[in-house]
């Protein structure tokens, strides 16, 4: 390559002068964000195509292109990267429509996945059904082999047993195989041998080895994670291949990146090796975006809350980073034992159904979803939902909803509200609707209290960052309930997850098991394993060369006190090679961290190392977030609307958010309408915009019992 060409190529590789696209596929809408070469951002929504999400993705790109006055091909030719969040894996779990999956285990451990360490989700309901099986018992086979906890072979692998098991599984049409042997993460030889034998005996079968999917103890968590990986893998593989192909046909020649549940993005090739990492990644983009906008607003400790149609997702952010949890992550009734952004979800959204059961009001978790949806949508919904209550109370604009694409039938709500809620509770209709509003706020506030309690944090010390279409309608009242002083609502809130995709870094997590009392850790071995993991991560990230400002490797030790089941990640002290001093400092860090979270440490005990991890982050160039102008004039009202606050109907001022500028201040009671969301300001609350387009709402005294 000629020199001048090389410089140009570097510019192209670095994405200068090019577009970037973020696409988040949700249940109802596919959200898109286009980052222009000048750093500004445009938002778009397009209906999701459930049977093949890639169709909706391409349609959405066409819409974006139209907004830019281009055709899709021209846009894609000048697009550097497409970052994608997909619910394909979650859909496979919800519909239980993954691959026909089989499991080979150590003899005697065939039933871990049913025993679940004794865990059941509801302690009061004996009729609770089991989770739908990924591999029925007939497709789970124990074979003769056993290692001890140091990886020594106690019983050699019986290869004939393996062949028999494979034949039996093949006969049952198994497409995807999970292999989980005891202590394989210490010594993977037996699991690897099964893959070799499978290549001979059943070459069509996809194989997931537990030590590659989740190289750490204990057996139930690893079995569950590996089974889910095997189950969703082939479908993810097909979906990504199809999407890559469709994008290629549409003229895209560069890189597709996919969001993972650890908050990082990676290539389809990387995802294919551990497809389970895209599970539950949907809301993660929103959390990343929340971190970015909060960072601009200089907020480092906050709770972000995403309220959509069916669920309310909360994540606690401390020191600018989302909490990562890597043990007891339950999704779709299976445990995923890999590092995931710790998002807590409750069944409360706009579509949540309100009902009176034996004289008590309940809201959710049942949801009317998008179809039939709330009564006010006029699509056949007949049960009162949270959105119906909000519409009835005047919080939502009936004539201009969802950026003018919908109108709301408030009159239809009244009768249902009276019959289903008000009369059984012996309340007035408005009181009943306000009761729904208050109860759902209280439920959400309690969810935040619980999440904060798990981390030993007082919610009053936090900022609340609210997004999702319904989030800002409720956030102000929730903050008041919680004693939170400030709410942040980004203008980009409704397509926040897609925005977050644009703001994500490449993340590779590598784990190696190393079990030893901390006084017996050999630094040479630890360094060798860290080196191995760092090199593995660099091999993957190297392909992205030119896109990264830098690559950061964080080395982590998973430590616990003897006898504890759940270990704790501790960042290794120092930057260079691990020496005796760094090791001692890391152990001391563990004691301190334990004291912070658990209020005590026991320095007389010798902590135990469970595993080593390297989290490698390839830091990407981020698009600049849009900024908005200033004004010293008073904001102009869009109009007035009757809305219900604290037992009274008030003629409430309504503002058009798109006309508000920095310097404007809106005082409650008031309503601010944005294209895809609405902010409700109660008495004593006021909102102003910062130049990054965040509404900053001062909440004032707790209120709204």
């Amino acid at each position: 390559m000629r020199k001048a060409g090389a410089a140009a190529a570097r510019r192209v590789a670095a994405g200068e002068g090019m577009y970037r696209i973020g696409i988040d596929v949700g249940g109802t809408f596919t959200d898109l964000v286009l980052a222009r070469p000048n750093g500004s951002v445009i938002l778009e929504k397009s209906p999701t195509t459930p049977t093949d999400q890639s169709i909706g993705v391409v349609r959405g790109i066409e819409r974006l292109a139209a907004r830019e006055g281009l055709d899709a091909r021209a846009l894609l030719r000048t697009t550097q990267s497409i970052v994608h969040g997909t619910t394909t894996a979650d859909n496979a779990m919800i519909e239980m429509s993954g691959a026909v999956t089989g499991l080979i285990t150590t003899r005697g451990h065939r039933d871990e996945i049913e025993l679940r360490r004794g865990f059941k989700e509801n302690i009061w309901d004996p009729a609770l059904p089991p989770p739908p099986p990924i591999a029925q018992r007939r497709r789970r086979i124990g074979v003769t082999e056993r290692l001890d906890f140091r990886g020594n072979v106690v019983i050699p692998l019986d290869e004939d047993d393996v062949r028999r098991a494979l034949h039996r599984l093949a006969k049952q049409g198994v497409e995807s195989l999970a292999v989980v042997f005891m202590f394989s993460f210490i010594n993977p030889a037996h699991e690897r041998r099964v893959r070799e034998i499978a290549a001979e005996e059943a070459p069509e079968m996809a194989v997931s080895l537990s030590h590659e999917v989740m190289p750490s103890a204990p057996e139930f968590e690893r079995t569950s994670t590996t089974l889910v990986n095997a189950f969703v893998g082939p479908r993810i593989d097909r979906y990504l291949s199809r999407l890559v192909e469709r994008l290629r046909e549409a003229g895209f020649r560069r890189e597709l990146l996919v969001m993972q549940s650890n908050g990082g993005i990676m290539t389809p090739d990387y995802i294919r090796k551990r497809p389970v990492t895209v599970l539950a990644s949907g809301p993660t983009g929103g959390v990343i975006a929340a971190c970015a906008v909060a960072d601009k607003a200089k907020r480092r400790d906050f709770v972000c809350a995403d309220m959509g149609g069916t669920s309310y997702d909360i994540c606690l952010i401390r020191d600018g980073r989302p909490e990562i949890k890597s043990g007891w992550n339950w999704h779709h009734r299976y445990v995923i034992g890999l590092p995931m952004v710790d998002i807590h979800s409750i069944g409360a959204g706009g579509g949540s159904i309100a009902s009176v059961v034996a004289g008590a009001l309940h809201v959710g978790p049942r949801s009317a979803g998008a179809e039939p949806g709330p009564i006010c949508y006029g699509r056949g919904g007949s049960e009162v939902t949270v959105t119906d209550a909000n519409a009835f109370l005047g919080f939502l604009n009936p004539d201009d909803f969802c950026s003018g694409t919908m109108t709301l039938d408030v009159a239809a709500v009244r009768e249902a509200m009276r019959d289903q809620i008000a009369q059984p509770l012996k309340l007035g209709v408005a009181e009943a609707a306000y009761g729904i509003y208050r109860l759902v706020n209280a439920n959400m506030a309690n969810a935040i209290r619980r999440v904060a309690a798990e981390r030993g944090t007082d919610p009053r010390s936090l900022t609340l960052v609210a997004y999702g279409g319904n989030g800002p309608v409720h956030a102000t009242a929730q903050a008041a309930e919680l004693g939170i002083g400030e709410v942040l609502v980004p203008k980009t809130a409704p397509t926040f997850s897609a925005l977050g995709l644009q703001l994500s870094d490449h993340i590779v997590d590598e784990v190696r098991a190393y079990i030893a009392p901390s006084n017996e850790i050999e630094v040479a071995r630890a360094n060798r394993l860290f080196g191995e993991m760092t090199r593995a991560a660099e091999r993957v990230l190297k392909k992205r060369k030119g896109q990264h400002r830098e690559v950061r490797h964080q080395r982590i030790m998973h430590l616990c006190y003897p006898g504890q089941t759940f270990d704790m990640p501790v960042a290794v002290a120092g930057d260079g090679k691990l020496g005796k001093a760094e090791l001692a400092a890391t152990i001391e860090r563990f004691h301190q961290q334990h004291e912070e979270l658990h209020t005590y440490s026991s320095r007389e005990e010798i902590p135990v190392l469970r595993s080593l991890r390297v989290t490698s982050v390839g830091i990407t160039e981020k698009p600049a977030l849009p900024t908005i102008g200033r004004s010293s004039k008073h904001p102009t009202r869009k109009g007035k609307r009757r809305a219900y606050f604290d037992g009274k109907w008030l003629e409430t001022p309504v503002y058009d958010g798109s006309l508000l500028k920095v310097g404007h201040k809106v005082r409650g009671p008031a309503i601010v309408e944005e294209p895809f969301t609405t902010i409700v300001l109660h008495r004593g609350q006021s909102a102003s915009l910062d130049r990054h387009g965040n509404y900053r709402i001062a909440v004032g005294r707790p209120r709204g019992r």
Binding site: G108, H109, D111, E112, E114, L115, R116, R117, G118, F119, K120, E121, N122, I123, W124, D125, P126, A127, L128, P129, Q136, R137, R138, R146, D148, F149, V154, K171, M182, F183, A217, P218, V357, A358, G359, A360, L361, H362, L427, G435, R438, L439, A442, N443, N446, R450, A453, E454, G456, E481, P562, G563, Q564, T565, H598, Y600, S602, V608, P702, R705
Partner: protein, 614 residues
Amino acid sequence: MAVAKKRGARSNGKGAGKRRARTSRSKRRVDPVEAEIVRGAMETVCYEMATHVSLTATTPILNQSNERNATILDGRGALAALSVGIPQFMLSSTLPVRFALDFFGADGLHDGDVLVGNDPYHGGGHLPDYNIFAPVFAGDELVLIASIQCHHADTGGGMPGGYNVDAADIWAEGVRFPALKIFDRGVEREDVTYFMRVNNRTPTFVGDLRSQVGAAQLGVERLKEVIERHGVDTVRGAAEYMIDYAARRFREEVATWPDGTYESDVYVDHDPKGNEDIHIHCAVTVDGDRLKVDFTGSDDRDNLQAYSTFGNTRGYVVAQIASMMDPSIPKNEGFFDSIDLVVPEGCCLNPPPNKSVAAGTHHPGTEVGEAIAIALAQVIPQRCCPQIYKMGMPTVIFGTHPDTGEMFIDHSVDTFGAYCGAVYGQDGWGAMNVSFGNLIRATGEINESIFPVRHMSRDYATDSGGPGKWRGCPGTQYEKQILAPSQIYTFVVGRKYPMPGIAGGMDGAPNKLSLRTGSVEEHEIETTAFYVDHQPGEGYAYRYGGGGGWGDPTERDPQAVLDDVLDEYVSIEAAERDYGVVLTGTLEELDLAVDVEATAQRRATIRSERGRDA
């Protein structure tokens, strides 16, 4: 019998409750929305208290296995709200609080007090369950009480570990705390904590106690915020509303049950001393919307080593009945009070003073639930599944760890399936009944790095689940190898009386524990094993009992039986013998199919045979 009932009522603390009720009825009507919001806030405080223990306790049973239960009581000691935990245990945590209210009287408790109680004869279950509780005042008025109960690893007494199943009396089991202030008006009583420290073997005891005290104090702080947010009258009114609401929902459910008195007799194999057939007689009377549970006629032999205290018995009664009603009914005093409970003093479910309760807390404690389920199965079988276990006690292995030279104790709280029955419409599944849903069990990959043992098997044992229209969950074939010289201490029941079938369902397989497996000395345990030596390479094999079946097995969908055979929950032979389903083909070839005609014949034969037997 009048005497018996009076005893029950006194232990129940109802007299005390009525006396206080006058001073603390709320002055204003609370609307249902407010009540629901306050209830949510209280349950969240319970969750915060329990989470505080999970985060700050030092022993795995508290910080990982979740054996901690948080509750909030009103100023009269009536249960207002509770959170996650284990039903049988959290429901036995109110009576110690009521004893303290009686003992200290209206002027004896103050803001900043924190109390401890663990005595089975003053409302508690068994000595290792320590209740820590603290009053919540608004001004000088007692409004609520925050309470947190935890199981501790030791409680003093004659045997380490709190399970002295052979104890001569309650004093031999451990130290008794009827009600004692650890904090007096916000100041720690160091004399008390020091006294508690020196009376316990485990160095972690005081740390765990502190964790509980911290949780109770956190509860007080949070509840004061709730009171400030909503006002005293609203909070009190909401608690009353929710209690009334639970009582109303309870009565509405009972009203749908047929009137009559339904009796049952259930048995525990034996107590640790070998007294056989510990008998529970239960008579449940449904009268309109009222429910009476009467254990008159239960075992009252005077030499038993099997006593469940009144508080313990009551906890199991409530837990079982709760499992038979709509799960959404709040479990509070309204629920408790709706049960007219009669337990004569002196029988195995309400012992004479000072008897040992270490073994009896579980057996006959748990069989209380079985008796109620069996009695009511005569009329509302679709609601009945005993939410219990037949564990005896954990299989304790101890010895010297060859790697460290230190003593180890493996309580074998491992993952295994056992005692999980079918309910109407649902086969038994998983490991345990849902009533243990929050108790997380140990794994091989972690425990083998701690103890010199090897977990060789926990697969379900084919045919161990009780046959039925809905099948009981199989128990597991548990095999553990021991790698260092060790001793085993345990107590076994459920051999003669396994988990019962309901409504024509058959019993689950019985327990079968063999020690010293892999040696010529292998033998089955009939009652107890006290300090049985094991050499490296030997082990134990525990075929844990399966759950009972529900309904006539010949009514099970033949396709479901075929699936069970393919999955090896059920053998081909048992399919024919128990379910009357005749299959063609073989399991090896995976070509099994139902022989429709032969099945119809076989089922007809079975029904006529069973009809003749009955």
